[in-house]
Symmetry: C2
DNA sequence: GCATATTTGTCCGTATGTATA
DNA sequence: CTATACATACGGACAAATATG
């Protein structure tokens, strides 16, 4: 495990142990190795990564701020478990940001390439039957949509929001039902964006988001 | 200094040393005790607050995430110094969030009380000639506007954005010129909101934000 | 409810690496 | 190039809170 960190350290010269550790933990959370609600015990992780407790605690603090972990005083850290209210709020933010991003659209934006790439990645994932990868491709697409706003702060906000949303994937039972229907709809949205049709894209996008929210909340209540 | 922390710790029983320390540092940054660009040396602060380096480093990380500090690897932390690009991006976010918040307005919202209070605080500050307090009141007003979105995540985003913006106040020379003209305009915006006139409020707000941005960028370039 | 074991919260000493005068 | 100041990282220690039997 620690060999992994060392390799990264050599590759990216300027990265601290804390950041590398946080990246490794983030990956495990996103991939579902650590599941929502699970407690992360300091000593166990310290041993498996061969880092000091202080470094681990700083990495925890980083991920807590990204809302991937929750910290309970004197009890430790747990993988975040989103409530229905959280999901609703995440979609509130998505509607605000994504719809605004496409609203004032004129001409083919640079981000269209990123979107096309995300769609292609989704197609590949579907063929492979890799539903987690399909979910990832879907988020990549919408991250690209959000980046139409051309704002670093909005980008960061959405990176966090999408990371949060991935926590849901590990809680609901059937990821296929969750992601598959949206591949084609992303293609429609992309077509509208490439045509420079802002209002049309916004209409499709809003409906997409409402359907997606409804489906997740439904699946979530029964879980 | 440490007596201060201890008093707070007794009051709010369930607060960690790190959070109390972060709050104390945040206050000093916002009040301009630590100025933009200034380096915060670990040992000095450890001594003055009588906390451990570990606690201080965690507090630093918290404030770095709030964008009040910047962290340079192996060089330490500095009070953030906003660039013109940062200011422009902050206003991009403000336009996105604040304008959307008032756009779909129906009836008198709960937050109108908060806005009215902020306006009153602004009036008092103006009488006292306390321009820093006037700036604070102005931010309180617009934080209340943003909270029309009724989203915890948007609220947090805007709290950070406004905290960043306060860093500018300590860099430009004349805070009075920066804040005073906007008291009356806030009153106009509030009136439109109280009347349930969403589009009218949005028009006033957008113009306010554009003027404010222009003025700050101008003052900023010459500083 | 009580006593014990476990885990976190905090602090310290030290060794190493990095930036800069 | 050297010296100095500082950040980075580690491991140990003890107190405090929590979980467990």
């Amino acid at each position: 495990m620690d060999a992994e960190l060392d390799a990264d350290r050599r590759l990216i010269d300027r990265a601290s142990t804390v950041e590398l550790l946080a990246a490794a933990l983030r990956e495990r959370i996103i991939k579902g190795v650590y599941l929502p609600g699970e407690r992360l015990v300091e000593e166990t992780i310290v041993k498996s990564f061969k880092v000091s407790r202080n470094s681990l605690r700083e990495a925890f603090r980083l991920l807590t701020h990204e809302r991937l972990l929750v910290h309970e005083l004197n009890r430790g850290v747990f993988v975040r478990k989103l409530t229905v209210a959280d999901v609703v709020d995440v979609y509130r933010v998505r509607k605000l940001v994504e719809c605004n991003a496409v609203r004032s659209l004129a001409g083919r934006p640079r981000q269209a390439d990123d979107m096309a790439e995300a769609v292609a990645a989704g197609d590949r994932a579907k063929e492979d039957g890799d539903w987690l990868a399909l979910g990832t491709a879907n988020m990549m697409f919408h991250q690209a949509v959000a980046s139409l706003a051309e704002s670093p702060r909005v980008d960061e906000l959405m990176r966090n929001v999408f990371a949060e949303l991935r926590l849901v994937f590990h809680t609901v039972a059937d990821p296929r039902r969750l992601h598959e229907p949206y591949l084609d709809r992303n293609k429609e949205i992309l077509a509208a964006i490439e045509a420079g049709d802002g209002p049309g894209a916004e209409r499709l996008l809003l409906k997409y988001l409402e359907d997606s929210e409804h489906r997740i909340v439904e699946a979530y209540r029964s879980a």
